[in-house]
Amino acid sequence: MKTKLLILTSTLLASCAPAYAADTPITGNVQTRCLITTDTNGVFGNPLPSKLSTASADGGVVPVIRYDVTLADAYLAKVTTPTAFSTSPALSDSVTWTGSTAVSKTSDAAMSGYEAAKIVYGSTTQFDLTKAGSTWFSSESTAVYGVSKSFVGGSYTAIVLAECIAK
């Protein structure tokens, strides 16, 4: 009886399916990249009949653009504030534009020097993205119509150009 039991147990053990421990690899490839994200679309406020402004003090919303870069010292960020309306009612007088772009937030404390090192030419502000990570830029713009003339009623749109140029 014992012999039969021993043979049965051995047979059962021998016929067990083997369990293999296998490593399941997860592979990925992080490429050098620059991602431009519009975090907030801008809105013009109309504090005076002759003025449109994205400043929050003027009832506007400042557009916020985020740059994500995965490689340090590989990109330049250029933000150009508008110098014309992309859509507007017919205007008979000239519009004077002013604008400025500033760093509003960074993902790394080491990026704190970006604001001081920025280069401004014309309506463009250039930042050297010397660190990997995310940087938020807010870009204010103001349009003044004629000499204290009232803007014509209608819808106005202006475009901020955000560029990421590989160095």
Partner: protein
């Protein structure tokens, strides 16, 4: 005692439903985030199947719901445009589309090629145009 337990149970259920509703409203009201991406950052040209023509492949990702077209451009170090051929000069892209496109350049102008850029073509309502330039080293 049983009434108090039952009341507490229903209050908890109500509170959880309220939390879910508030979360849903906050998610719905949150500002949409739109982004534009082009890779590789440093493309390399190789000989194409045609003699005298080099090619490189670029990838474009459109996470901008407000943009349906991207324009491609090839430039030298002074931002002068260089002639090139691609499937499209203006690429139609749906939201969350990834498109791979080839850029063909004559070997005669290859040494001058410095940047390959994509620019979003903004439509009504968009207030930010994005432009990404890769550099040929």
């Amino acid at each position: 005692m049983e009434v108090a337990t039952l009341l507490s149970y229903w209050l908890n259920v109500l509170l959880n439903k309220l939390k879910a509703l508030v979360s849903l409203v906050l998610i719905t009201l949150s500002t949409p985030v739109y982004s534009h991406e082009m890779t590789p950052t440093y493309p390399v040209f190789v000989q194409s199947f045609m003699a005298g023509i080099s090619v490189t492949t670029m990838n474009l990702f459109n996470k901008r719901a407000d943009v349906a077209y991207y324009e491609i451009g090839v430039f030298d170090s002074k931002w002068e445009p260089i002639s090139f051929v691609s499937q499209y000069t203006v690429i139609p892209m749906k939201y969350l589309d990834t498109v791979a496109f080839d850029v063909y350049v004559s070997n005669l102008s290859l040494a001058r090629v410095e940047y390959i850029c994509s620019v979003s073509q903004v439509q009504d309502g968009a207030t930010v145009a994005s432009k990404i330039c890769s550099r040929v080293k």
